[in-house]
Symmetry: C2
Subunit: 348 residues, 2 copies
DNA sequence: TGTTAGCACTCCATAAACTTGAGTGCTAAC
DNA sequence: GTTAGCACTCAAGTTTATGGAGTGCTAACA
């Protein structure tokens, strides 16, 4: 059986009401709420159908209905309307964001932390963000310098102007000329290569050419491999974990502890923040079990992928109760995503 | 009235018992617990005295007694005994720590995060750590390199081998010779200077000498100032925030939310993590209101200052309920502190 | 004078009994 | 197909008992 228009309207009314109140919603409420004038008894009949179809469920007999995961899913896929937000309001939000961006955010990390906090504050849910990272990093520039005594500073610039560095120790001092030679050798050999290419026999070749300095070259190669390894180039920031505690359905200490723990641990979050889908303007919604994370089965997660100019991609996400205000969250993430792309160009 | 030996023993027994159980402790319990054989009635008399003196208090009439802040204070100052931990056990803990340190901790930050987690896991309280930072940073080495087009990479090494970098934009391309000259100029002028010294009119002097490149020099100076500014060089990591939820006295959602929020925000934590006292082997205990942080008035905080070889100092702290196991925490922090100093030498 | 036994009293915690109200399913009538 | 009405269910809140832990005080004892 497919959903006819009336059932759709009723389901929509149930979900909307539940999103607002968080309480199971009864037939009488809906009978008053909707524009189609129906008595509570009729609504009850329809509700029984909807329940049989799996869109809503009863916490217990003689309670109202709440949306099931399937219900939420059809809601976000087909019923959610664009929030007709007043231009005024939008303007204001944009201003806020601009302010955040202008306050001394010379470093991308600070920017991202601020954005995360802003999103958490704005939505009243928990927010997370992954730092932008490339799918395959390439080395763009490498340089060794003698800092003092036996310490050599190795600076690497990756595609996308990400800078990494490492201090290496050598036996005995190196004169400037040797360093110059090494720099030329390294730059001419390594630039533009990906991780796989470096792994393919390059080590032997380079150490051969390096003669006396083969030890140092080995250390440098290790540093390069480390720098361009995918694990190395992503960090996750979170904010607003405590917002979770605001929602009674998540606020038994068991659940809350697991959830906040997951946010703190950050390991599990990579799930959401890496394999972003390309469709739907980069906005993804995971409901309940769809999150594939046990501790989040009572939550929903909304993510958006942002892309900076150099092809650096990152993801920002919001975690909240299943009855989150999806429209608002989607709207917020979309606007943040746009501004992020924009703002980054301004600060670099 | 001063505390005679018997009152001390009774107070100690009350606190020990309360630390274990978290329940108000009654006179009969103590009468059985202590070696001095006294009836519960006598204990009651003594308890009344102790209460009058402010060391213990009653949640309500006809309940047992719990320690007051003053009680905790005298406990940690005078009654706490060294945990006579079995050598075996200690050895094991050290091993664990070593393992953590050996797992791929080429970067100090990873090390510190691991340590924080280990401390949180070990104590079952929340842990925090500040990255090592110097009181007055000095520049040790600075170098500009042309990376591509109009982008100049500025790398700075500070005393203590902390590396910072920034990408600067210039108008038009710079040839290698100009860069070489600038590098010599910058190194000879800036090295070894502190923030104050740089602020004192250096800008004018340098830009004068730089001729055409005065714009670039200004940008470089900004980068240097930013790099050695004290705010810039400290980060805080936390772990185990959810452990807070384990303790019923902190686990109403109001309190917990504030506390975990504070841990997340990290701003308030600087209180503890900066002005470390030197006495008492660097270990400090703040009880209840002594924390000077409203949201932590039901908590105690224990901090230890660690010092790396180059004079880099940081602080590690544990946050838990007032009835925390002070002995264990102090012991853990002491051992971590020692190992941190030690381990750092090994990995650099 | 310090210590102890005993007793009346207080207060919290827990459980049991009761009440309330929202909501349902079903049937019969429109 | 829709609606009114009624009996029924269940959760949540309120009240009422009950038990137990603990105290303070007094009087007796060594």
């Amino acid at each position: 059986m497919d959903l006819d228009e009336r059932k759709m309207k009723i389901l929509q009314a149930i979900i909307r009401t539940y999103l607002e109140t968080g309480e199971p919603v009864g037939s009488r409420t809906i009978s008053k709420y909707t524009d189609l004038n129906l008595s509570s008894a009729t609504i009850r009949n329809e509700m029984a159908d909807l329940e049989e179809l799996g869109y809503i469920l009863q916490p217990h007999t003689s309670a109202g209905r709440i949306p099931s995961d399937k219900g939420y899913r059809i809601y976000v896929d087909e019923m959610m309307r664009e929030r007709e937000e007043s231009l005024n309001n939008r303007e204001k939000k944009l201003d806020e964001m601009q302010n955040i961006l202008l306050e001394k955010v010379d470093r991308v990390e600070t920017l991202l932390q601020n954005v995360t906090r802003a999103v958490a504050d704005n939505t009243k849910y928990a927010a997370m963000i992954s730092t932008p990272h490339m799918h395959d990093n390439r080395l763009k520039f490498i340089q060794l310098s003698s800092v003092e005594g036996e310490k050599i500073l190795c600076v690497m610039v990756l595609e996308g102007n990400i800078v990494k560095n490492k201090i290496l120790k050598v036996e005995g001092q190196l004169d400037n000329e040797t360093i110059l030679k090494l720099n030329i050798l390294l730059n001419s050999t390594l630039n533009g290569l990906t991780l796989e290419q470096i792994h393919m026999g390059l080590v032997a070749k380079l150490t051969g050419q390096a003669g006396e300095q083969s030890e140092l070259i080995k250390a440098v190669l290790d540093a390069v491999v480390e720098a361009i390894s995918p694990e190395e180039d992503m960090r996750i920031y979170t904010s607003g974990a405590t917002n979770i505690l605001k929602y009674p359905e998540l606020n038994d200490s068991e659940r809350a502890s697991l959830l906040i723990g997951a946010l703190e641990e950050k390991q599990m979050l990579t799930n959401f923040l890496t394999n972003g889908d390309e469709e739907n303007k980069g906005i993804q919604i995971y409901i309940g079990d769809e999150t594939l994370v046990q501790s989040m089965k009572d939550c929903s997660v909304v993510t958006a992928t942002y892309e900076l100019e150099d092809g650096l991609k990152g993801t920002i996400g919001v975690i909240g109760p299943k009855r989150m205000d999806y429209e608002k969250v989607v709207e917020t993430l979309r606007s943040v995503k746009e501004q992020l792309d924009d703002a980054y160009r301004r600060i670099t």
